[in-house]
Symmetry: C2
Subunit: 289 residues, 2 copies
């Protein structure tokens, strides 16, 4: 690579860091990449860090020492998260979206990569300081958000299937009861798609009673995996008995009537959780000074 | 937003452009965002453009005039694409991946967001100058790459289903013959998930005879849509009669034997196509001067 001036380094470094979230990049790497002294690289990173934090792009952690370096952690600003969630609820509150059975047409939202990337940033921000080894979801509609979250956390995605396809080798299957329909169903995950003992973040696009999420939790037991958390894009309030207690939702469907063509959504508990996490991080920080 | 110095503007601008590929951003937007004169913003963009092009991050197109602005187009450098594809073939050439029926275990690769992002950049780069309105794939395994491509092209994703789920409203279904198994199957797409007459890029993770892709082409006819192109991550060479002629593959499976536990992959036709597109763009450019 050609020797770059500071302005050039800042552009390339910003791109590089954004492409490699949660990865420790050594000062030496940048120093060699730009043929510049480590002291100049350090100064560059101070500028990048200031802007990333000021503009809410994320945090830049510096790890000192010989094996040290810098790590970019994507985060969200509370105000921006709130604005996004408000707009998201607004967009979904359209009677045209009401489907038979009180379901919601969301494929357009799930099919919008920029929107899913924003959702990905929200969850990745919340779990930034947790040990997450993998993200798990169930085919088909949970996949987009799972990828977005995984991309920001730099972890692999495991996709649970409801069908039995022969092309994935040995599978682990469990039966579960769909919370809404009360029917017994099967879900499977390829044995080699998740290492034993992994710390897993469960994600799905929609949760009614929580049978599917409950099934994923049970399936994870077969892999001796730990559930780090559960995120659902939209939860439905109209539930007699919730099978899952601890989850983080972006939006909550509070009302949906096919007959009256009425629908209402409000923000889920995401913002409350974000505030908790930020307060906790702040306490830790205060405690350490 | 606080008034920023050039160094700060370069960092934030790089981030902003990367988050908004293929979108026209007005000079005025940046000028207001940074409370800086348009002339300064123009100088910033000249620096960003130089580095983006020099480091192979992408192109920056400037659209002059009152409604003008700047557009970031992600691209790949041929050499880097080649290195990625070589490594990709290497990674897949592992006898442990052989599954019954001559299939290949690829879930780990498909489950790696950074890898899929790279694949996304490859296809987005190839189709950067085509009019693509949407990306289409079939559930489940094509979804990750479809999202990655769509994210770089800033277009929505349409997901074709092999099952009938009631939660997506009215569906358009067709029957198709799976090329390898010769069985008649059904695929469906929600009516409202694709506008009529859209220009669509078809993507899938694996292609044997091409029955699934052929099915998607037929399904698109029902939407009066145009096929802009077809991308398959891995194609299998072992095919008597190919149902699809024109497609772009990253890798080609040239040999797979369950009995002998042998497997071989080579680069697909992607690089040849990339060279053609680049030569064509060069000709156009030469012609215009």
């Amino acid at each position: 690579m050609k020797k770059l001036k500071r302005s050039g380094r800042l552009v390339d470094m910003t791109h590089y860091l954004i492409q490699h979230p949660h990865q420790l990049i050594s000062l030496r790497y940048f120093s060699e990449r730009y043929q510049s002294a480590k002291s100049s690289i350090s100064e560059d990173l101070t500028i990048v860090k200031e802007i990333f934090e000021q503009e809410g792009i994320g945090s830049l952690y510096t790890v000192p020492g010989a094996s040290g370096g810098v790590k970019y952690i994507p985060t969200v600003v509370e105000k921006e998260a709130e604005a996004f969630i408000q707009e998201f609820c607004q967009e979904l509150s359209d009677p045209e979206r009401i489907l038979p059975g009180g379901y919601l047409y969301m494929m357009d939202v799930l099919g919008a990569p920029q929107k899913m990337n924003e959702v990905g940033r929200l969850y990745a921000s919340l779990f930034a300081n947790e040990q997450v080894d993998a993200v798990m979801t169930v085919a088909t509609k949970g996949i987009p958000m799972a990828y977005a979250v995984a991309s920001f956390l730099d972890v692999p995605v495991s996709i649970v299937r409801r069908d039995h396809r022969v092309t994935e080798g040995s599978m682990v299957s469990i039966n579960y009861v769909s919370g809404s329909s009360k029917r017994i169903q099967t879900m499977s995950l390829a044995r080699r798609s998740l290492p034993e003992g992994a710390n897993v973040l469960i994600l799905d696009d929609f949760m009614k009673a929580g049978g599917t999420v409950r099934g994923m939790v049970d399936l994870l037991k077969e892999f001796r995996a730990n559930v780090v958390g559960t995120g659902v894009l939209v939860e439905s309030e109209d539930v007699e008995e919730r099978l899952v207690e601890d989850y983080i939702s972006i939006a909550r469907l509070t009302e949906v009537s096919e007959r009256e063509r009425s629908i209402a959504l409000e923000p889920g508990n995401y913002l409350t959780k974000l505030k908790e996490v930020k307060a906790h991080a702040h306490d830790l920080h205060e405690g350490s000074t």
